[in-house]
Amino acid sequence: MTDHKLPMRAKLATSLSRGAAALSRATGRGDGSVIGGRIALMVDPNLLAELAAGREIALISGTNGKTTTTRLTAAAMGVLGDVATNSLGANMPTGHTSALAKAGATPYAVLEVDEHYLKQVLDATHPKVVALLNLSRDQLDRAKEVAMMAALWRDALPGRDLHLVANADDPMVVWAAGKAVAAGTSVTWVAAGQRFHDDSWVCPECGASIERNGEQWACVAGNLSRPVPHWTVSGDGVVDNTGTYHHIELQLPGRVNRANAATALAVAAHFGVPPAKAVPELSKVASIAGRYAVVERDGRTIRLLLSKNPAGWLEAFDMADDVPTLLSINARDPDGLDTSWLYDVDFSPLRGRRVLVTGDRAMDLAVRLEVNDVPFEHVKSFSQALTLIPPGRLEVIANYTAFQDIRAELDRVN
């Protein structure tokens, strides 16, 4: 698809979108992807569908790992040709519109989709592949309950000409995909893991318990159980659906990112990208909008980890090295106003490390760590933390706006 094939109204909307985005960036108000898309959709509500038409599209959705997996998938798909993607994490329809408008004509698009908007974006973009990563509790004061979210997905997916790539280790995802799969939708199951089990003790189908035994899980009463995965994570690599092992020199840390890489490779494979060709592209991804970025400052080597919810914190503890660690928590609008989730996280993996706490809600964190028997020091800011720790490594784990605050102090590191 190229610009000149767009209807006049869509052309105008696209051009306005680019203009507004440029203005937003130039005035330092934002990265431009949301405002541009919002203006464009006001001028032409069908613009997303028009911009999507003619492209082969992959959608990536789930509670955690969307932005990273989208970046990895776009890198893998790049083997085939130009890929449009919302790489800045603007994951609602305004962001998709803006990303596609900005990219111009591309044969492919990889779009990160907020889990609440999956149906809407499916309707508008008719994707070829949809990746379902995981579902767990997030932003308790306003997000949908996990089971309700899974039910929305379950009803949105059937009856479409698409292929699913879904996490076999998350009962909620398997159930959410189940209706479409039962109706004949093809699926690639990836053993992408699930470290946080607290949202999947109960079968979403019948309410009976889900029993776990090693990697296996099954409802004790009904038919819901772990499907046999086609792709698995193994050591420092992944095993694909033909049984071939691919070693990946991933710069991104943690098992969860090897699982994200497996999902990205499985998605790309469905578009015809041989895993062996995509693997070197994944190795080039070093950080995503500041996530996992490593920054040198005053003789300290600082790594930034973003964690927005309990499942994300458990993954961060798996990635973090045994070095001084700064935790920062805010509870502003984008974070959710409720800090109760701190008690859904077991902070004991941090015992024995030097732990510093900061952020708007450092006191909530302080009480939580005390209850968890994790000694800590309270600091007023990221800068103060830097002055307290000796030269060397520092891990920073922060939730959304706390992460952005620290990124701003580091000159908006990417």
């Binding site: 004061d141 309700m148 003790w201 109960v202 701190l342 008690y343 859904d344 006191m363 302080a366 009480v367």
Partner: protein
């Protein structure tokens, strides 16, 4: 306290009612008992298990409508919690757990029978109550200001058999005037999730009810700073 002289803390139905960090209350009670040298035993009882009647403190957390209705049905059918109350056990209940201890509540649009352990009835409000909650606690309990975060669609009407836990100064609680309820050794609040993190005084009250012992002060520097910060934030808004 039971004959083995261990304080038995029982967290009911974490598989159904644990949406908002409710585990925190169990951890906080256990820690505060431990710091007073009280031997503690914690048990988590899932909805497919029998509720033991020999616990000292029972905790019931918050959750969505479906799990709440299921939890109430199972607790009524089980009968263990009522027997425990007859023995003089202490109960701390939060949000959905608080509602289901009453005579009736609404879940998914239908009126459901509660356990009738607290004389109160809950229905749905016109708006959802989400945000900071604060109130002056019933003077009979001798506790400082209540502080918490609430997130519920219910409104609760107290009968003559209970006293309000607090008079609301910020937020909604039961109905914008009163918040929570208590009777005997049963206490309920809309201050959801890990409510005891911000209210160590309530934690110690529960321990006192359960043991009959005075709780010596402990180092509450961090909970005090958290309380001060949250109450100041409520005043500012």
């Amino acid at each position: 306290m039971s004959t083995e002289s261990r304080l038995r803390l029982i967290w009911l139905y974490p598989d159904l009612l644990s949406t908002y960090g409710d585990r925190g209350n169990l951890l906080i009670l256990a820690r505060r008992a431990d710091l007073r040298g009280l031997p503690v035993e914690c048990a988590e009882v899932r909805a497919d298990q029998a509720v033991p009647a020999d616990g000292d403190v029972y905790l019931i957390g918050g959750g969505e409508d479906g799990p709440q209705a299921l939890a109430a049905q199972r607790l009524i059918a089980d009968g263990g919690l009522r027997r425990a109350v007859d023995r003089g056990a202490t109960i701390f209940s939060v949000c959905a757990g608080y509602q289901l201890l009453g005579n009736s509540f609404y879940a998914k649009g239908a009126k459901c029978a509660g356990l009738g352990l607290l004389d109160l009835d809950s229905d749905r409000g016109e708006t959802r109550a989400v945000g900071e909650l604060a109130g002056e606690v019933d003077p009979a309990l001798g506790l400082p200001t209540l502080t918490g975060f609430e997130n519920h669609g219910g409104r609760t009407h107290l009968g003559p058999g209970v006293r309000p836990l607090a008079r609301v100064t910020a937020g909604i609680g039961n109905d914008g005037r009163s918040e929570g309820a208590w009777h005997g050794r049963i206490l309920g609040t809309y201050s959801h999730g890990p409510a005891l993190a911000r209210n160590p005084g309530i934690a110690d009250l529960l321990l006192r009810w359960a043991t009959g012992m005075t709780m010596e002060p402990i180092d509450d520097r961090w909970p005090t700073r958290l309380r001060d910060e949250r109450l100041a934030a409520v005043l500012k808004s």
